[in-house]
């Protein structure tokens, strides 16, 4: 197969799948039903870690979780979720919430939407430098 045809097929295929999945409504971010759902998402990755207070964001796309290993974040990764501990996190205000930077190649910058009053509470709970 000529390289030009292969490239056209691949680029067209990727673009087509991207457009169709979006049009079908498959771009929606995961929303946690409640704090318990966020806790279950955390335990899915860390079943042996004890959890405490859970603060669900107003948009229900992320939650701050107190654990016996320090504060942790569970957040929507597309239609699913991911978890990171925040012991070495650096959090910065953004226009829409917080930008949480980690020394982690697989989650270097987690952006979460929070109202201004939520941000203060989260930063206090996270106890990380602003």
């Amino acid at each position: 197969m000529p390289l030009s045809v292969l490239i056209a097929l691949v680029v067209g295929g990727i673009a087509g799948v991207a457009i169709l999945t979006h049009l079908f409504g498959f771009s929606k971010l995961h929303r946690f039903d409640d704090a318990e759902a966020a806790r279950m998402a955390f335990l899915r990755e860390w079943p042996d870690v004890a959890t405490g207070t859970i603060t669900l964001s107003a948009d229900r796309h992320s939650a701050l979780i107190e654990t016996n290993k320090g504060p942790a974040l569970v957040w929507a990764m597309g239609a699913d979720s991911s978890v990171r501990f925040l012991a070495d996190a650096d959090a910065q205000d953004t226009k829409t919430g917080l930008s949480i930077r980690l020394a982690d190649l697989t989650a270097p910058n987690i952006r979460i939407r929070l109202a201004p009053d939520e941000r203060r509470a989260w930063l206090t709970s996270m106890k990380v430098p602003r």
Partner: protein
């Protein structure tokens, strides 16, 4: 000696088929609201990984090819090109695939290349194309050396490898439940391969087969899919990015960071590169064995059942 033998590049030829089947699966799921899940960024990442895999093959394929042709030049054996030789080559190359795949899960150096294939939390036909960009650097082409030395032409071996890859495409789906019993007994199927992509402790390090599931049954790594335990797809600790560059290289960089940290013995540095994924010098991480043991501590009733025996 058949030194100038050539076969078609079947993987490139199959690209239109891949795209067509992905569109059919996507439409099926969208219309029927069952048979799997799609997510836009996840699917795009998988497809970009697939495109990058083809590109890296074009850019770096000469290394494996040069190695194979060097072996071909020194072997006195030539089995010829009959259909039976091709069939035998296909079966033996599938055995080769089983072991390379098993190494890919049990040796961190090889896992660094293979991890990206397991990094999606979805399981659909795009996941099949979420392939490595760094396979050359695992040096797993060495495992093909016996085939060349036995007299299978390198072009035939790569042709059979391509057919193997194409076979594995269709098994990356939740749209197909179970195949007929005789088929499930011999061949790798969507059900068997769903287990392989599971991050459930029960399903870790199981079902390495490419085409024939018999290898897992022979070597004790077969675990059947259970109705009472739905497969949870992805990594033990899932990625927090859809960036294909990070998906492709993160574990290599993690190995580098681990190996170069201060205060380790030479043996510990080596272990960070070649021990099973999850190994750590201070026990702060879990290997799949440790994950299974911890699961059994919480669920002792599972001991002795498939995946925990």
């Amino acid at each position: 000696m058949t030194s100038d033998l050539s076969y078609p590049d079947v993987v490139q030829m199959a690209v239109p088929l891949f795209i067509a089947l992905i569109l059919i699966e996507l439409l099926w799921i969208a219309m029927m609201r069952r048979g799997g899940r799609y997510e836009t960024r996840d699917a795009v990442t998988s497809l970009v990984m697939g495109a990058g895999n083809v590109a890296s093959g074009i850019a770096l394929g000469f290394i494996a090819w040069g190695f194979f042709m060097a072996l071909w030049a020194i072997t006195p054996l030539d089995l010829g090109t009959s259909i039976w030789v091709v069939a035998l080559c296909f079966v033996l190359d599938d055995l080769r695939y089983y072991w390379v795949h098993r190494f890919g899960h049990r040796i961190r150096w090889v896992w660094a290349s293979h991890v990206n294939h397991h990094s999606s939390q979805h399981y659909n036909l795009t996941t099949a194309l979420r392939q490595t960009w760094t396979g050359t650097f695992t040096f797993m082409m060495i495992v093909r050396a016996p085939l060349i030395l036995l007299g299978f032409h390198p072009a035939m071996v790569l042709f059979c490898g391509g057919l193997n890859l194409i076979y594995q495409f269709w098994i990356h789906t939740e749209a197909i439940g179970r195949m007929p019993r005789w088929f499930e007994a011999v061949m790798n199927t969507p059900s068997h391969h769903r287990v392989h992509h599971g991050r459930n402790p029960r399903y870790l390090d199981a079902n390495y087969a490419g085409v024939f599931i018999i290898w897992d049954k022979m070597f004790g790594t077969f675990v059947p899919e259970r109705e009472d335990e739905k497969v949870d797809y992805g990594l033990v600790h899932n990625l927090g990015t859809f960036n294909p560059i990070r998906v492709a290289f993160h574990e290599w960089i993690a190995i580098f960071r681990d190996v170069t940290q201060p205060g380790l013995t030479l043996r510990e540095r080596l272990a960070y590169a070649v021990a099973p994924p999850g190994w750590s010098h201070d026990g702060s991480r879990d290997t799949s064995e440790a994950i299974k043991e911890k699961h059994l501590a919480r669920h002792p009733q599972d001991r002795g059942t498939p995946g925990f025996s």
